[in-house]
């Protein structure tokens, strides 16, 4: 049960050079748009052909440039959920699923060895329609469906092909937050019910944090960090990784002692750290919500003149030294405008020690 990916592909002005390996069943790839995360997914699916490298899943070699192996997308049995679902517009929901069943039958007929048993895959389109709650809309065309029904149809179509691995390409990126949350729960249910390994590609750190236990961070065509999701958020290791995981405050530092640094970008504010500051640490990061009002504790920062950006449920406060503080809205109840606390503090254990280098 493992996925090994090592691919390189050159484009004009962009190079993809990605390598990772994981046993996890809930894999996330987080990166800004254009970082190559979708290309990575398409290589795994067999939709684009890497210049060199190898891809294997569950001991099945899907691609190996040295051995000349390149299993066609249609034989990989890897499900791909496209960002806009890619439902066939000229077909009804039922026809979309029947088409997938047709493809599955062909896949089974033609593949020499997929290494998987056929158990329970004699389902008809009717079974699948009922299973995915699409019976009532089975004769409708994709443009007549709601966002949720579209995604369910796309999933039903993928599961008609009994995928061994699911690739989810920014499945929620074009949705409003209400629908997004509902569909995320729905998708999580389906994934758990079928017990499928998936890779979720996203630029939304909340999404990957919620759904994935193994996280791969990508930047400019490369993997910059990977590991257990919680650990990666707690200790991103590098400046780029800290930014990707949503750290708003990052400053260059001057090391004073092994547990004390001066933040050069925050008007020389000094910080005590729990972690030992080794010589390769060039920056520190402090998450905007880790700042707490009050002057207790070790790392007390004077707010000075602040500017406040009010959101419905939280405040973004820029301190005089340039740091960002994300405060819950309860603050509004306790402080009037102009009565922002004079001091905030940060726990010494919450300070991220960061290197500028590319690799963790």
């Amino acid at each position: 049960m493992s996925l090994k990916v090592r691919v390189k592909k050159k484009y004009s002005g962009f190079g993809l050079d990605v390598a990772f390996e994981t046993e996890s069943k809930k894999i996330g790839i987080l990166g800004a748009s254009g970082c190559g995360k979708s290309l990575t997914l398409k290589s795994i699916a067999g939709l684009i052909r890497p210049d060199e490298g190898s891809i294997s899943y569950e001991d099945r070699m899907l691609f190996d440039s040295d051995k000349g192996i390149d299993v066609r997308a249609g034989k990989r049995q890897i499900g791909y959920l496209f960002q806009d679902n890619a439902l066939f517009p000229n077909m009804s929901v039922r026809e979309n699923i029947e088409t997938a069943l047709h493809g599955y039958a062909r896949m089974k007929r033609r593949s020499i060895r997929t290494g998987r048993a056929d158990a329970g895959m004699n389902r008809t389109a009717d079974d699948i329609l009922r299973e995915f709650g699409l019976w009532d809309v089975k004769d409708q065309r994709p443009h007549e469906l709601s966002g949720g029904q579209k995604q369910r149809t796309a999933l039903a179509r993928i599961f008609a092909c009994d995928p061994t691995l699911l690739l989810l390409d920014e499945p929620f990126s074009a949705m409003d937050s209400f629908l997004k949350e509902r569909l995320r729960l729905e998708l999580t249910d389906v994934l758990e019910m079928y017990d499928k390994t998936f890779i979720l590609v996203s630029h939304d750190r909340d999404e990957v944090y919620q759904m994935c236990d193994h996280l791969i961070l990508m930047d400019n065509g490369r993997v910059i960090a990977q590991g257990d999701t919680d650990e990666l958020f707690a200790d991103p290791g590098t400046v780029a990784a800290a930014r990707l995981t949503g750290c708003k405050n990052i400053s260059r530092i001057e090391k004073l002692t092994e547990h004390r640094v001066r933040a050069l970008d925050w008007k020389g504010t000094e910080f005590v750290t729990d972690g030992k500051v080794s010589d390769d640490i060039t920056h520190i990061g402090i998450r905007a919500h880790d700042l707490m009002p009050g002057d207790g504790g070790v790392n007390v920062i004077a707010c000075g003149r602040v500017s406040v950006s009010r959101l419905p449920f939280e405040w973004y406060i820029t301190l005089e030294n340039g740091m960002w503080w994300k405060a819950a809205r309860e603050l509004y109840d306790r402080y009037d405008e102009g009565m922002i606390p004079q001091y905030v503090s940060v726990d010494a254990g919450k300070i991220l020690l960061l290197r500028d280098g590319p690799q963790k």
Partner: protein
């Protein structure tokens, strides 16, 4: 009134449209996937008959197919007939002339095709011919129908290359366009006008057909909220 020119024109236009439908769609479908440089060269080549004077096309066809040229001479020897001056010789002329219309409209339709649909088909295990006929062609139908109808209309009106390669023999190679010229030349103005009106009527009908198919395409867009 002898209706042979109408019959002959429709026959020639029909056959050449059928041939060019297959060739043009195939060329367009493969051209879309080509790298830019080669695509540009092919584009120029495939579009050339659209901008060349039809007489130049006719001249080139005669150089290729004329009875004294290798291909024409070979055909004459084997089949006992010339490639030129038969009613079906005009099919060569109209086919070359309408190819760019079919090719360019089909290419436009294929370029507008959402590639992720193709990729979705591939990941679902579908074969490429299946994807082409069941997904790509239905998606591109309005554009391709418009191109086909336009090609037919243009083939119906072809004069220059046709007259060079098939000539004008009443009851044999006469088409509407060559008949109109012949009648006008021989001062039969009344009959020429009749043929002109017939030609205009057919062309208007054909163009209305394009509008209807495009209208359908637009409706599909509106339904999608675009």
């Amino acid at each position: 009134m002898d209706m042979y020119p109408l019959y002959n024109s429709v026959r020639i236009a029909g056959i050449s449209t059928a041939v060019i439908f297959v060739l043009g769609v195939a060329a367009a479908y493969h051209a879309v996937k080509l790298p830019r440089g080669i695509k540009g060269i092919l584009d120029a080549l495939f579009t050339l008959p659209l901008v060349l004077p039809p007489t130049v096309v006719g001249y080139l066809l005669l150089r290729l197919l004329g009875p004294k040229r290798p291909i024409g001479a070979w055909f004459l020897k084997v089949f006992g007939t010339r490639l030129t001056m038969n009613w079906w010789s005009a099919v060569f002329a109209t086919s070359v002339i309408i190819f760019p219309l079919m090719y360019r409209t089909a290419r436009g339709a294929f370029e507008a095709f959402d590639v992720t649909l193709f990729q979705a088909g591939e990941t679902l295990g579908l074969g490429r011919p299946y994807i082409f006929f069941k997904i790509v062609m239905p998606y591109c139908k309005p554009g391709i129908i418009a191109g086909t109808v336009l090609s037919f209309a243009r083939a119906l009106g072809e004069y220059g290359a046709t007259t060079m390669i098939a000539g004008y023999t009443p009851g044999r190679t006469a088409t509407i366009s060559t008949t109109v010229y012949q009648l006008w030349r021989t001062d039969n103005d009344a009959l020429a006008l009749k043929w002109v009106l017939i030609n205009i009527t057919i062309s208007v009908l054909v163009l209305l057909a394009i509008d209807i198919t495009e209208g359908r395409g637009r409706k599909r867009y509106e339904k999608n909220g675009l």
